[in-house]
């Protein structure tokens, strides 16, 4: 029997996108033949080192810049030509703020809310973001984290069905980060598409339904966090001991441990499919050789490691 899969509707479809800038006399490709989609009802993270083309791609989706070639469709509309229809449907949180320094937090949010037909309740939104005590505070006097929360509020107050968040938790304390993650998940659960750009791999891993990793303006990897990690590498077996290990002797006793990935003062990783059986043999070998074993565990691949290996800089 065919399995019925929920196919989420595409909010953004990017096909063969290229964006070039003129840098002095040189023509420089920020985005180079990129194709990807971002769905409604999903959180999509766009990851990549600085200069990978994240901002250019997102800004083209927001209609701030025109593609050099290729197409972008947002809800099957053109971000530049159909801007009038798209502006109410797309909420944007800019990295640099986008607010007057002399404006009061509550006043700014009320103003932005008044541009939309069905805005969120402003006092409730301020309270949800723990800004209710700062409604009368000038933007200039808000802390970095408070500014970020207010900018997030501006991006979502209009109840758009697609929200672009550029590093939404930069400068936030751990409590605010968790609160922001909850809001982002709630937006997604309500059916909005959320596009996230972030340098926090833990954030991307725990929030994203789909991750696109960019490098040099191209797609380096793409998929759900689980798929990406499953395909990235095997789990490792990690040993930590007091003192030094004789790796040759160990490999003779436990031949599976012949591939050493990392060995730094007392911490050793082996590329081997970890099993209880191997761990038991390692433990008993340590007992026989009077080695003080401090820990033995499997080390699952993390998004951060995958990201670092995919976007490694080639030294010239």
């Amino acid at each position: 029997m065919a399995k019925l899969e929920r196919v989420p509707p595409a909010a953004v479809v990017i096909e063969d996108l290229t964006i070039r800038y003129r840098k002095g006399k040189e023509l420089f490709s920020a985005v180079d033949g990129l194709s990807m989609t971002m769905n409604a009802g999903e959180i999509t993270s766009i990851l990549g080192p600085n200069g990978a083309g994240k901002t250019s791609t997102i800004e083209a989706c927001e209609g701030f810049r025109r593609p050099t070639s290729g197409t972008i469709r947002v809800f099957d509309l053109d971000p530049v030509r159909d801007a009038v229809q798209l502006r109410p449907r797309v909420g944007v949180m800019l990295q640099e703020g986008g607010a007057w320094l002399g404006v009061r937090a509550g006043e700014l949010l009320r103003y932005v809310a008044s541009l939309y037909a069905n805005p969120l309740d402003v006092p409730a939104l301020l309270e949800r973001l723990d800004l209710q005590d700062h409604a009368q505070t000038n933007f200039r006097r808000l802390s970095g984290g408070q500014r970020q929360r207010l900018c997030l509020a501006m991006a979502i107050v209009g109840r758009s069905d697609l929200v672009f968040l550029d590093e939404p938790t930069a400068g936030m304390d751990p409590h605010s980060r968790r609160a922001t993650w909850d809001i982002i998940r709630e937006l997604r659960d309500g059916g909005a598409g959320v596009v996230l750009s972030t340098h926090h791999m833990d954030e991307a891993e725990s929030l994203s339904d789909r991750i696109h990793i960019l490098k040099d303006g191209r797609l380096a990897a793409s998929g759900t966090p689980t798929d990406l990690l499953r395909e990235s590498r095997n789990p490792l077996l990690e040993l930590s001991v007091n003192g030094e290990l004789d790796l040759v002797a160990l490999a003779r006793a436990v031949p599976e441990l012949n591939k050493v990935v990392d060995a730094v003062a007392g911490l050793y990783s082996f590329d081997v499919k970890p099993s209880t059986e191997i761990m038991a043999r390692v433990a008993s070998w340590c007992v026989d050789h009077r080695i003080e074993l401090r820990g033995i565990r499997t080390h699952e691949p993390t998004l951060e490691e995958l990201f670092l290996s995919l976007t490694k800089r080639v030294e010239q």
Binding site: F64, L94, G98, A99, W100, G102, A117, D121, A124, S160
Partner: protein
């Protein structure tokens, strides 16, 4: 309180968006001490001091000499200096970019600014005419109020165009410095308060065709009951040149 985060997109009707922005602009303007000093206090001071300067100005009706120049000065302070500085920092802080992506839209932003400046200039006009009347000034019977209106509109367009050109091309601090410097230079030597025929010989013909000279001389002509057609033509040319330059060079970020 629970917050319903399900999407329900939609733009407010355009008049409410526009009005929301106008109110925001006016609130921000009224809160900035240095802007109020520039646009209200300085013109009022020049008017009041000028009304007592009958011996210096060698006239027994000093307000007739001073008021037209002060009106021109007030217009330049609002539609050039204040607009340039405000827009320069809005560009720097990403306000222009951000609002351009909301249902306000770049067009709404432009119209909102225009309307806010028009209203603020209305307040300036009420204050300046009011104080002048209290000080004893009376309009002459042959003053052409239509020419006055045309001067205000064309002058505002020309100076707003130049302000946006400055704000859209330079860094915010440079815009701040240039806008203030040009305002001071124009007030002293630009034919705004001091009439062009009192300026040194090599400067006078140049200034007559500058936007500040055309506005100042135009105002003096209107209130003296003289035709202001030439000055209106000069301002029209400047408004078009500044507008075209803005279209070409204004950068949103």
């Amino acid at each position: 309180m629970t917050l319903d985060l399900t999407p329900k997109p939609g733009a407010a009707p355009w008049p409410s968006r526009l009005w929301a922005h106008v109110r925001m602009e006016l609130r921000l303007l009224s809160r900035q001490g240095e802007q109020l000093l520039l646009t209200i206090v300085i013109p009022l001071m020049v008017l009041i001091l000028g009304s007592k300067a009958d011996s210096l100005l060698k006239t027994d009706a000093p307000l007739d000499v001073v008021l037209p120049g002060v009106l021109a000065l007030a217009l330049v302070s609002m539609s050039f200096t204040s607009l340039a500085i405000g827009t320069g920092f809005e560009r720097r802080y990403g306000v222009l970019k951000h609002l351009g992506a909301t249902p306000l839209s770049p067009q709404g932003l432009l119209w909102g600014k225009a309307l806010a400046i028009a209203l603020a200039q209305g307040v300036q006009g009420l204050l300046l005419f009011g104080v002048a009347l209290v000080l004893g000034w009376r309009p002459q019977a042959d003053t052409s109020w239509i020419s006055f209106g045309a001067l205000v509109v064309l002058g505002s367009l020309a100076f707003a165009g130049l302000a946006l050109l400055l704000a859209g091309s330079f860094r915010a601090e440079i815009t701040l410095a240039l806008a203030n410097l040009l305002f001071i230079l124009a007030s002293a030597f630009g034919g705004v308060v001091v009439s062009v025929d009192r300026l040194p010989a090599p400067l006078a013909p140049l200034v007559a065709y500058s936007p500040t000279g055309a506005l100042g001389e135009g105002m003096r002509a209107v209130f003296a009951g003289d035709p202001a057609g030439m000055h209106l033509v000069v301002l029209t040319v400047w408004a078009n040149v500044a507008g075209a330059a803005c279209m070409k060079w204004f950068k949103w970020e």
